[in-house]
């Protein structure tokens, strides 16, 4: 009985089903797993589990705690790549339920790690199990939405992936609120917050599990007919996942995503110290925190805005804008800093971060255009390994070059200039990858057994 509920067949929508009931199901999952972006709110409290008000000698070090997030992001990329085919096969309900178990359960195991003060349990819980929940939960609703919105795939995936950005906006204040609520004379509240969030996120993700539906195979939006002659970069065929990842198009898109994310994540992770150092004496730590909040809003809004816009501009043109406008803005930022143009600096970085978010949200629709909808979730999963690489590369690049420059006598106000020019070079590589993209060769198209024809 219960297993039938989770079967793909049980999720097929009846005729006349309102497709706008599906995006909230996707959002319920993405708003939950987006919590990962706000994990840093736990960093300091986790270094004071024993000392409560200060870090005791046996407390975890910040660098040790910092690994939890890195493990989670690497596992996000790996699990999306490994479980992508399984997600396509079993359908969104079973995979979203698995994601809920992993993500919620990850919090509970991590809480046990805090209780017994075993950092390996923290890594295993939030990092490994939670990371698998992130990867499966990230890709599961995306391919479902693409199937529901063949007329507006960018808008549909933008809506879901916007949730991942929005999840951090909810989780950051919520974590602080809960830790304050649970704080006692014997606990700094972080253990209780982990348990509460594990249960809460599991239940919230279950809304998505219950509500999600897939369209019937022959379903089309009312009044919509697939264009006779689709755009040049949009295929009407399908490419199987095992074939797709061997095509040049897959690796060019991998490069596009990796370069876009590396450039954005490097700036996002260093936004607070960057604005304080470039405008030394003019920006307080509180104002810098405000700047980070503003960037989070642009990160979230950019996901919907750019992905929805790509339905009209085309995916290739949208990424051309990301790379060309990105190069101009990254090159301008050091000059704006030297000139003391704080307003221009804020606008430039906000637009850059909106395009960083937009890059994430537009990529599933780009994959659908090139490889068709059949295995888009699984192909998306494999492409997300680019995120795992960029998640390590971007922050390291910014931190290492900044420190290198400071060690060699460059004033702190100018320590980011070289890094930002390197980001321009990375964006140029991304631009060239995007420029080189051509439709997938017909010989790679999927042919149903016995037909000899492309599907």
């Amino acid at each position: 009985m219960a297993s039938a509920f989770f079967d793909r067949q049980s999720t097929v929508a009846p005729p006349g089903y309102n497709r706008f009931l599906v995006p909230p199901a996707a959002l319920a999952v993405h708003l939950s797993i987006g919590q990962a972006y706000a994990f840093s709110t736990f960093n300091l409290p986790l270094t004071k589990v024993l000392g409560l008000t200060h870090a005791a000698a046996d407390d975890w070090k910040l660098a040790e705690v910092g690994w939890t997030f890195s493990i989670a992001i690497v596992l996000l990329g790996l699990s999306a790549a490994v479980f992508g085919r399984w997600v396509e096969r079993v359908g969104p309900r079973k995979s979203m339920f698995t994601a809920a178990i992993c993500f919620g359960g990850g919090f509970i195991i991590a809480a046990l790690g805090i209780h017994y003060h075993q950092i390996l349990l923290l890594y295993l819980g939030y990092g490994v199990l939670g990371g698998c929940g992130l990867g499966i939960g990230y890709i599961a609703p995306v391919s479902t939405l693409i199937k529901w919105f063949p007329d507006r795939p960018g808008m549909a995936t933008g809506m879901a992936i916007m949730g991942f950005g929005g999840g951090a906006l909810i989780a950051a204040p919520l974590s602080l609120l809960l830790m304050e609520h649970f704080k006692t004379a014997t606990s700094n509240g972080v253990l209780e917050t982990f348990v509460t969030m594990g249960v809460m996120y599991f239940m919230f993700m279950m809304i998505g599990v219950i509500a999600v539906r897939v369209p019937a195979t022959d379903w089309r939006p009312t009044g919509w007919v697939a264009p006779e002659t689709p755009r040049q970069m949009v295929t009407r065929a399908n490419v199987a996942v095992d074939v797709a990842w061997r095509t040049p198009q897959f690796w060019l898109l991998w490069g596009v995503l990796c370069m876009n994310v590396t450039a954005g994540i490097g700036v996002l992770g260093q936004a607070s110290p960057m604005i304080q150092e470039i405008f030394a004496g003019r920006v307080t730590p509180a104002a810098a925190a405000g700047f980070v909040g503003l960037l989070s809003l642009f990160n979230m809004a950019g996901r919907f805005f750019w992905a929805a816009t790509s339905d009209y501009l085309g995916r290739r043109t949208t990424y051309m804008i990301f790379f060309l406008l990105g190069i101009v803005l990254y090159a301008l930022v050091p000059s704006l800093g030297h000139l003391g143009e704080i307003g221009g600096f804020i606008v430039a970085v906000a637009v850059i971060i909106s395009m960083y978010g937009g890059g994430f949200a537009t990529i599933p629709a780009y994959l659908r255009d090139l490889f068709g909808p059949m295995h888009v979730g699984a192909i998306h999963g494999r492409l997300l390994t680019a995120w795992a690489v960029a998640g390590v590369l971007g922050p390291q690049l910014v931190n290492y070059i900044r420190q290198f420059q400071i060690d060699h006598g460059v004033p702190r106000t100018q320590a980011y200039s070289i890094t930002l020019y390197i980001m321009c070079a990375l964006l140029l590589v991304g631009f060239l990858c995007n420029l080189a993209l051509r439709p997938v060769d017909e010989r790679h198209h999927f042919k149903p057994p016995g037909t000899g024809k492309s599907a």
């Binding site: 309102n18 706008f20 009931l21 909230p24 199901a25 959002l27 319920a28 708003l31 949730g163 929005g166 906006l169 909810i170 989780a171 950051a172 204040p173 919520l174 809304i207 509500a211 509180a286 104002a287 810098a288 925190a289 405000g290 700047f291 980070v292 909040g293 503003l294 989070s296 809003l297 979230m300 804020i346």
Partner: protein, 32 residues
């Protein structure tokens, strides 16, 4: 169907609106 529609969008919309309001509050510190 309409009730289900409203409930689902409220369930995801309210927490998101709360998160956006909190972030806007935070972002305003930049201009103070």
């Amino acid at each position: 169907m309409k009730t289900r529609f409203a409930l689902l969008w409220l369930a995801v919309g309210l927490p998101l609106a709360w998160g956006i309001a909190k972030s806007l509050q935070n972002a305003l510190k930049l201009f103070q």
